[in-house]
Symmetry: C2
């Protein structure tokens, strides 16, 4: 029995299957809890589903992985091996991409707030700067001139499109902090300025609608708007762009039986629009797509152990040894990660899985129909591969969890568990001694 089979059984709702019980017991015993477990093959499958959908339909194409979903170098390396390029949001992520083996010139750096040292670091490594605003553009020009280099730049465009997702991750609407507005000639003026400033080479255009998008309509509207604008740039400024980045945001199903937009469906929807607009444009830029969650979310489970169970007059609480310090999404966004109770097949009852953070809001899963576990049992939270460990903290003085990568029948620690000593690692030693 491969380790992978146990993980897939749990995902499929068979967490009481002997293969699942054996695998979770083994991993928890060897690596402790709370624990992030990723299945390498699921990451590869997702990357290949993306590739299979887009490569045959778009001859000029670059697919990127948005590192912010999961910045572990081992995960990044898996995705580079599948032919994806890095999309990053900070100097730290540029460094993670380089550590994973990427070339700087293959990295796209998008952020609404780049510091001077981040701009310098990016330029020194020939990273493509996806510029957010005119203030930053002037800084990039000055930095490139000072460094005696040419900054390859694109603009992040705010297309004013609402893809109908959660407000907090809805990045393409007019009131968002991101990018230059397409409307009112603002984006056009930005490109005009970029062509006049020294040290800059204008190479492309970028937008990103948001996260966890499950319908194609927003992408279709955006593709039309972006390509029409690219034509305007050609006709009025004589600009020829080498790429059009339509962003990421491809959603995943978070519920059993749910079906969401596949990459195939998105590629199908975009293809006629792309071909029609490219014909009008008179040249074909590369199409860039840059998912994060889609590639890694489903590969990951967060495994916790039950500390205690109690029934109050209002609810039954399953108290586990993880909390919003380990998995922030339920407390921060109201995200509903499916929970599997390992090795229990008793009839389900309505339970709250409560985290160990000392806040009322630290409920990892509310009002779920689950077999009632008992102290010592393991529970797994599905779809925790994206924005799981990446958002973890040491709040309540809890060391960071470990991360394990399962590949077929091997399991490899890709981040060892944090230690209590590390919590004070940066406090001056003299002062923390007795």
């Amino acid at each position: 029995v491969s380790l992978r089979e146990g993980l897939l059984r749990a995902r499929a709702g068979e967490a009481d299957h002997p293969a699942a019980v054996a695998v979770f017991s083994l991993l928890a015993k060897e690596h402790g809890t709370p624990l992030y477990v990723y299945d390498a093959e699921t990451i590869r499958e997702q990357a290949r589903a993306l590739t299979a959908a887009f490569v045959p339909r778009f001859p000029r194409l670059k697919l990127r992985y948005a590192l912010k979903a999961n910045t572990n170098v081992h995960i990044v390396r898996l995705l580079l091996a599948e032919g994806l390029s890095p999309e990053v949001v900070s100097e730290g992520e540029i460094r993670a991409a380089l550590l994973a083996g990427a070339r700087g010139a293959d990295v796209l750096f998008t952020s609404s707030s780049k510091s001077p040292s981040e701009i310098d670091f990016a330029l020194r490594h020939d990273v493509l700067l996806n510029v957010d605003n005119l203030d930053e553009l002037a800084q990039a020009s000055a930095a490139a001139t000072r460094l005696g280099t040419t900054a390859r730049v694109s603009f992040r465009i705010n297309p004013g499109v609402d893809p109908d997702t959660l407000h907090q991750i809805n990045t393409g609407i007019a009131e968002s902090k991101f990018g230059v507005h397409l409307d009112g000639g603002i984006a056009r003026a930005a490109y005009e300025t970029a062509t006049r400033l020294p040290g800059l080479s204008v190479t492309g255009i970028h937008c990103h609608l948001g996260s966890q998008i499950t319908e194609t309509a927003g992408y279709e509207e955006t593709a039309r708007k972006m390509l029409a604008f690219v034509r305007e740039l050609k006709e009025e400024l004589g600009l020829r762009l080498s790429f059009v980045d339509l962003g990421g945001g491809l959603g995943i199903p978070f519920r059993d039986g749910e079906s969401v937009m596949s990459p195939e469906r998105l590629a199908d929807a975009l293809k006629p629009i792309w071909e029609e607009e490219v014909a009008r444009l008179g040249y074909e830029p590369e199409l860039w797509i840059e998912p994060g969650r889609f590639l890694v979310a489903q590969s990951g489970l967060m495994v916790a152990r039950v500390n205690s169970v109690k029934t109050t007059p209002v609810k039954t609480f399953v108290n586990v040894d993880a909390g919003f310090n380990t998995l922030l999404r339920p407390a921060m966004y109201g995200a509903e990660h499916r929970v599997r109770v390992v090795g229990k097949s008793t009839p389900p009852m309505v339970l709250d899985v409560a985290g160990d953070v000392c806040e009322t809001g630290d409920i990892l899963a509310a009002d779920r129909s689950l077999p009632r576990p008992e102290a010592g049992d393991l529970v797994a939270f599905l779809d925790a591969g994206a924005y799981g460990f990446a958002m973890a903290s040491e709040y309540n003085a809890r060391p960071l969890p470990a991360e394990v990568l399962v590949d077929g029948d091997t399991a490899r620690v890709i981040r060892r568990r944090g230690t209590f000593e590390e919590l004070h690692r940066s406090e001056p030693a003299g002062a923390t001694g007795r």
Copy 2:
């Protein structure tokens, strides 16, 4: 000019005063941004205000500091020096308290979800276990028996009182995950069980209404309920408790000119109730109070530097080099920290201060009337001493900020800035090399 004066000027709304400009420029230059800066004397003043309010009114008293607000050992040590005892929520916080010089026997450990190893660690260090539920009680009894020791225990009681604060931090209401319910004889049955199990010594009772409470009514109602229940325990079970912990939750003013419940007002409100109920009870337990935020929030500022400023058709965004990875409260709770723009006295305009995290929800301060800064300027977020650094993460691959403690005219690094190397510190070295 003392460093402290600069901090106090900024707090008072005079961030354009030369003393403020000098101090922030110096600290940012020496320690970089984003930076947490704490004023030691403000922490002492808050501790002394609490002491001055309670000590004269309650002859039998213990005041505690809830470490979760700020777990830096240097801050904990400051509060121990003021005579406060530690209240903790995890093994990591017990360790921080011990590192700061506390005795284990002086530590109170409250958590709704204690792991077996946390219970063991607490018992080995003679820490008082504030028990959440009967499942945990049985585990504590078994662990004490196994270790050949006696576990001093209290129960966290859910008093069913709504102190009228934000739901996420409203811990004393009936649907909360915390404690045993007072109603329906549940708490009484729990005490009865505790007296029968081996290895336990029942020492007190605890409750906690929530955080950021600004009125006395909830405390008054709770004190009456708790003391009436203590009388019931005496009369029906013959129990004599050594303490009654009414929790923390004392709020602070988050707006200029706002006035909230002072410790003096709370002590005044509690005194007649306490005296009346103690007289009925026939003996006087110690009163315990355990604030966190009240003691440290106002001492702290989070200082960030402006990366860029942009005006869109909808808003003006001030993009800074901190985000919800640095200060989570605005994005997570909608908290409104006052912002001071250092060294600017231009007429205010309406601005959004946007964080550098790649999410639409990362707005540190929305629709604030502030002088418009420019790239390179410093901004300070007030009242960031509690639940600021404690909740920080490395999300978006950004190293943790540094912490500096100002004491009069000296500034001491109490946590050095995180490094890019640390982001990968726990990833196996062989695999992260090229």
